[in-house]
């Protein structure tokens, strides 16, 4: 269909998709490439990349193979990215849709809540949520989801405000269709494209937040996440700086991939370019 063709033609989308595909392969194939437990003791700690052929990327300060953690870490980061983004999207779309569609008191109330979340520095709220509910990977992901829904809500509400008064929605109202039908079948499908594009931004932020949490030693230690590796590398930063550098580059490339795909989606789904009256 037309949007797909437009997506594949835009260069950012291609580069982004290639990078993201590579990270996906790393994540999904992790157990095939590195079957053992990535957090297991692989050898002497703090061996430089290339110093020992068994460890192309060297070992960290707990004697774990960095390459193994990179592959398994890809799975963790993508998982956190997707799950947190879908949580944020679900909450954001629900609140944004109701506020945008009904307006009036509903809108003001819901917007007060959104403002409250946005006024409060999101990383601070994240700290509190993790401190309160513990730092297992599930609570960290849900906390990130809870913290990042306001921008999605604002965007959905803006879309709903413009679409709600469009003629085809009024026509359906006149046809006696229920509000639920209007919201779900008429307005939402047209409001989704910009939200989907924005989802790539939310995902990038989610991965960054997890790595920041791990950096402050607040993420789940039983999970081989890139953030944990950077946090671990912080103590040996001056001597074995590669321990922090390698996962840092991995995060950078993943977010680069996600943002490029987001940009490609934007070009493809952007009504002005795609349909062109």
């Amino acid at each position: 269909m037309r949007a797909l063709k437009a997506y594949l033609r835009s260069p950012p989308a291609l580069i982004g998709s290639v990078i993201l595909l590579a990270v996906l392969v790393m994540g999904i194939g992790a157990h095939w490439f590195y079957p053992g437990d990535p957090l297991g003791l692989a050898g002497r700690p703090l061996q430089w990349p290339g110093q020992n052929p068994r460890f192309p990327l060297g070992t960290d300060s707990s004697g774990r193979d960095i390459a193994a953690q990179l592959f398994h870490g890809a799975r963790v980061s993508l998982l956190i990215g997707f799950v947190a983004t879908s949580i944020a999207a679900m909450i954001g779309i629900a609140i944004g849709a109701l506020a945008g569609f009904y307006g009036g008191a509903v809108d003001t109330a819901l917007m007060r809540v959104t403002e409250a979340f946005q006024t409060l520095p999101n990383f601070l709220l994240l700290l509190v949520l993790v401190a309160v509910f513990g730092s297992t990977i599930e609570t960290v992901t849900i906390a990130i989801g809870i913290v990042s829904w306001p921008p999605v809500a604002r965007l959905t509400r803006a879309e709903f405000l413009t679409l709600r008064t469009r003629d085809f929605v009024q026509a359906c109202r006149v046809q006696g269709l229920s509000d639920a039908h209007l919201i779900l079948r008429e307005v939402l499908p047209n409001a989704l494209p910009p939200v989907i594009v924005y989802a790539s931004v939310v995902m990038a932020v989610a991965i960054l937040l997890e790595s920041a949490l791990a950096f402050l030693q607040l993420s789940d230690p039983n999970v081989p996440s890139w953030g944990n590796l950077i946090g671990l590398g912080r103590n040996v930063l001056r001597t074995e700086w590669y321990v922090s550098a390698i996962p840092g580059v991995a995060i950078l490339m993943t977010i680069l991939g996600v943002s490029l795909v987001g940009q490609g989606l934007n070009d493809a789904l952007n009504p002005r370019l795609a349909s062109g009256r």
Partner: protein, 528 residues
């Protein structure tokens, strides 16, 4: 003396467009003190020609052949620096959309003053003085006040006058107007057309006037060029082209222009299917700080629509005709008064009301959900009202045939239909609910004249076949005359005059109606 000469001009469209060239082998000329009207339907290439002459071709379009000359001086191949000294100084342009044509964040004075400051290097004070003089010449009320005003503080007509003042500021040799009055009310349009003719006569500017409305052509043109799909099909003096057109495309276009003379009156049933009794609606638009003075959209409006007949509600923008339509359909609640359909008050429950009244909307591109199939959108009303899906879809196919569409196209998406076809789908959707009353809110004003005629014919035919009672909202009296039995003229939320359309247009009782009729462009040619 020919001010503007265009010979064999051909402009190529980028790959993937619906045809090879935007315009092909176009030759036009405009002499000093003459108005050449370039007329044609959308997609005929008239606007591309105008932007080519201004050197403002959209990216992707390239001139492949022909030449353009301004007072003998070759324009094609000018450097961007040379073009800058010509634009605004020797050749100026006025655009269609007054609402968006001015920079919202700069005062009118600054935007006009820029012409003198950039081209002649005058200082701010001198530029302001000249700007006031220019605004007075386009007879803008309170020119000093207008200088400091921001665009959003002026009406559409006033903004168009500012655009004209700006264009004529440096007494250009050629003025190009690209549909300058299409977005205006008919009375304002008449004033602006008179203003352009007067200024053109006084300054002897050569004017190239682009329009799709033959009425405007009749009103203002000295010579006419008719364009179709990028080619000039006919060219000549206004009198020749309008009275005995040689090309059959021109003849078809002229025939499609609705005249003011209404068809012979029909016998009307006594029973009133729709009664609007003393309907009042006030908008208290809440500003950021304090309540603005409440705007009375409807002020005790009472109209009745007889079963099987068509009542036109005509009026300019802001007259309240759309608000009336939305109240009748139940989209808007009125403060006082009531809407009675077939003897019963309009029930607040939307599902019940949907069997009594349905609506057709103005903008074909906004009235259909781009992401759902056409057939589904027609059938969804009946399905929601309980008709089984299969039967509803079958009915939808029949309705597609009824409104003149291929029944198989029920599975296609809206973007695969033309503007006219989408309006037919809108009508099918309304009829699917078998309503007592059909409300049509400016159903044809967004369509080309030829397509407009076909849709009006369809409505007339459907009315006879199905005994439809239609409440027809429009700002164009000529369209009303073609279709409606009775008319109600509205102004400022009040009904000025009602009656049989033939009688009202022949001998209007209220002065406002008379001014509306006289403002119709080309009335002499197409009139009574």
């Amino acid at each position: 003396m020919t001010r503007l000469l265009v010979e064999h001009l051909t402009i190529r469209l980028p790959r993937g467009a619906d045809r090879e060239n935007a315009i092909e082998d176009v030759s036009l000329s405009v002499a000093a003190g003459e108005i050449l009207c370039v007329v044609g339907e959308s997609g005929s290439g008239k606007s591309v020609t105008a932007s080519a002459v201004m050197g403002l071709l959209a990216p992707g379009l390239a001139i492949t052949a022909g030449r353009m000359a301004l007072s003998g001086e070759e324009l094609r191949g000018k450097s961007s620096e040379q073009w800058r000294s010509i634009r605004g100084r020797r050749i100026a342009m006025v655009f269609q959309e007054p609402m968006t044509a001015l920079n919202p964040l700069m005062t009118v004075g600054e935007q006009i003053g820029e012409m003198w400051r950039v081209h002649l290097g005058l200082d701010a004070k001198e530029a302001a003085r000249r700007a006031v003089a220019a605004l007075r010449e386009v007879s803008l009320p309170d020119p000093e006040g207008a200088l400091r005003a921001y665009p959003h503080e002026l009406s559409g007509g006033q903004r168009q006058r500012v655009m004209i003042a700006m264009a004529l500021a440096l007494e250009p040799e050629v003025l190009i107007c690209d549909e300058p009055t299409t977005a205006l009310d008919v009375t304002t349009q008449a004033q602006v057309l008179a203003l352009i003719k007067d200024l053109q006569r006084r300054h002897g500017t050569a004017v190239m006037f682009i329009t799709h409305d033959f009425g405007v052509v009749a009103e203002i043109a000295d010579r006419v060029a008719v364009m179709r799909l990028g080619r000039v099909v006919e060219q000549g003096t206004a009198r020749e082209v309008l009275t005995n057109p040689r090309h059959d495309y021109t003849r078809a276009l002229l025939a499609a222009v609705p005249g003011l003379h209404a068809p012979p009156p029909r016998a009307l049933a006594e029973e009133a299917v729709l009664e609007v009794r003393a309907l009042t609606k006030t908008y208290a638009s809440r500003g950021l700080f304090r309540r603005r003075k409440p705007v009375r959209a409807l002020d005790a409006v009472s109209v009745t629509l007889r079963r099987g007949s068509t009542l036109a509600v005509v009026g300019e923008s802001g007259s309240g005709k759309s608000t009336l339509a939305r109240c009748v359909v139940g989209l808007l609640g009125a403060d006082e008064g009531e809407v009675v359909i077939a003897g019963a008050r309009l029930p607040p429950d939307r599902r019940a009301a949907s069997r009594l009244v349905q609506m057709v909307f103005q903008d074909p591109y906004a009235s259909l959900n781009p992401r759902r199939r056409a057939g589904a959108q027609v059938a969804q009303g009946p399905i929601a009202a309980g008709t089984p899906r299969a039967q509803a879809m079958a009915e939808a196919r029949e309705l597609f045939v009824l409104v003149g569409l291929d029944p198989e196209s029920v599975d296609r998406f809206p973007h695969e239909f033309s503007g006219g076809q989408r309006q037919r789908i809108g009508i099918a959707r309304a009829l699917a609910m078998k309503p007592q009353v059909l409300v049509a809110d400016e159903p044809v004003s967004a369509l080309d004249v030829s397509v407009q005629a076909q849709v009006l014919a369809l409505l007339r035919e459907l009315q006879e076949r199905l005994g439809l009672s239609i409440l027809f909202i429009t700002h164009d009296l000529r369209v009303a005359a073609q279709l409606c039995d009775e008319v109600a003229v509205m102004r400022g939320g009040v009904v000025e005059e009602t009656g049989r359309i033939g009688e009202v247009f022949a001998a209007p009782r209220s002065a406002y109606t008379r001014s509306l009729i006289e403002a119709i462009p080309g009335r002499a040619l197409f009139g009574a």
